[in-house]
Symmetry: C2
Subunit: 335 residues, 2 copies
């Protein structure tokens, strides 16, 4: 298996990307294609022992830079590193691609070069976002900020497949994030989505309120990308605020290293980007992973592992099968 | 000044409502009108020393019960306690009304009997919701789940007036809750609202992401009621989860009473309903306060104090003046 990585994405590129790739290659026994300027990648690669590893550089001088509008930039930079890395998957040279740059760039490259699976118009961004609820994923988390109700149904199908594979649960529970638990609650979008979910044949357990999100009641929480993004980032913000508060409260009451350890754990439990090494972009025709822009080499290495898992679990094939099944159900109940 | 209270609302009615009203009357030197069945209120009132207090009972046998759809129930129960309490304000017998029952009932009664201030179609629910950001209010928090962009502008005007009065800040900062900080980010609603806010003459500081909500960067955070409700309730849920986690972490490391104290403070700092005694329903033609359904007598008493403050601060008059001003600005810049 080969995994293509955009070596020029994120805050610590190319140094931490290359280092993470080397560690990932050794730890997970996969081949790596590093995409970017050879003259910048080669010196980084030379710092490490790569004997016995299958690491290749695919050269390009183009890459996305800070402040560019990614989708627009990709139209003029046809060989931008994220685009070229994504094309490695399209051309069968790699089985997965990892981007560390802006989500917009990773999504736009995936959309252009791989496309979405049949019947889903836009890639879906989601995953576990709260360490306190490790068997709960939420989607969308920001990829789709204006959603039709049927897109929320798509998220539910995508989430079910992912939760089933990831948590090894036969029939993951699906809940709709809403302002009240009763049927009929919510805005127009939620009310309509509720009806679609009810008929979907998925394990739909109804509405869930914000207060119950951390409880783990649902394996898959469905929301539009605007709500999901606000909630996931608020979790991160509140987590950091409480970490600072806790540090202050415990000062002089506990040994410094114990405080540090406790605060670090709380940080990890509330910070979406630190829960996992990186998350997949769902519903595209290929395995595409996005790592947080702040990722250092350990996160890059972990994302290599996550991408390998997704290829082996065939999340794309499983999604296509489930979509066909759920759509069939809906056609039957909505003749 | 007299404050009318629906004695039959909330989980602990009428006992805690009556007790809280007695304490509130004494502490804040206001008259109280308790509305509900006299035969249930009188025995509760008899438990306390009410000498020198101006407390009156207005009798009705009707009140909203658990599980009723409030707006619908109010159409058949014309003398439901919350409706009759609200009419005390309309008829000039009271200067404010407090409801402890479901928000839907308090809002529907306010809308029916007091109406909204000119130019705002729906009451607005909002206020401080996070103890970590005591000088930040968010609105809407659930009253309006389907919003047009111009309603978000209304929220900003309402919030500015309230923050100015409440925090004594001449020019409160206003931010739009969004998925990114740059102009042009967000869903269609947020993009359009951004443009209106930019031209409003308010102290609009741009977009704010979820991660920055607890920072206190903005005095007024604008969002639709769906997003606001999810965020405020998620704050409560995450806060409780961290409280439990913290208790567990500190066990055997600190004295039990110190742990209890720390956890209680964290609970208060993250639990929206405990930050204040209760919040106003904004943009109605009168001072209407809603206390949380779980309120015990101390919260009821505090809400009496908050309602008295709102009457004295003339929040309704101030809102009307500010609305006229903001609308004037918009008319000038949008000829």
């Amino acid at each position: 298996m080969k995994i293509a990585i955009d070596a020029m994405g994120g805050d610590y590129a190319p140094g931490d990307i290359v280092r993470g790739a080397v560690i990932g290659a050794r730890e997970y026994h996969v081949g790596i294609i590093l995409v970017g300027p050879g003259d910048r990648i080669q010196p980084e690669l030379a710092k490490y022992d790569t004997s016995g590893l299958d690491i290749e550089i695919v050269h390009t001088d183009e890459y996305l830079v800070e402040g560019e509008q990614p989708a627009y930039a990709l139209r003029t930079k046809r060989n931008a590193s994220i685009a070229l890395a994504t094309r490695q998957v399209k051309e069968g040279k790699a089985q997965a691609v990892i981007g560390v740059g802006p989500t917009g760039g990773v999504v736009a490259a995936a959309l252009t070069h791989l496309g979405t699976v049949e019947g889903i118009s836009r890639p879906v961004v989601g995953g576990a976002f709260l360490g306190f609820a490790p068997k709960t994923i939420a989607m969308d988390l920001g990829g789709n900020v204006d959603c039709r109700p049927d897109q929320l149904l798509d998220f539910a199908v995508v989430g079910t497949v992912y939760a089933r594979k990831m948590f090894d649960i036969a029939n993951p529970s699906v809940a709709l994030l809403n302002v009240g638990v009763e049927e009929g609650k919510g805005n127009e979008q939620a009310k309509a989505a509720y009806q679609l979910l009810k008929q979907s044949g998925l394990n739909f357990i109804g509405n869930i309120e914000g207060i119950d999100v951390p409880s783990g009641k649902a394996n898959v929480i469905i929301c539009d990308g605007f709500v999901g993004n606000v909630m996931a980032k608020f979790s991160e913000g509140l987590g950091r605020t409480i970490c600072k508060w806790l540090e202050d409260q415990l000062k002089a009451k506990l040994p410094e290293n114990e405080i540090k350890d406790m605060v670090n754990r709380l940080f990890m439990l509330t910070s979406p980007s630190d829960v996992s090494g990186g998350g997949p972009i769902f519903a595209v025709n290929g395995v595409v992973f996005k790592a947080h822009g702040r990722s250092r080499y350990p996160e890059v290495a972990r994302t290599v592992g996550a991408a390998k898992w997704a290829v082996e679990a065939d999340i794309v094939g499983a999604l296509k099968a489930e979509l066909a099944r759920a759509r069939g159900k809906l056609r039957v109940s909505n003749p």
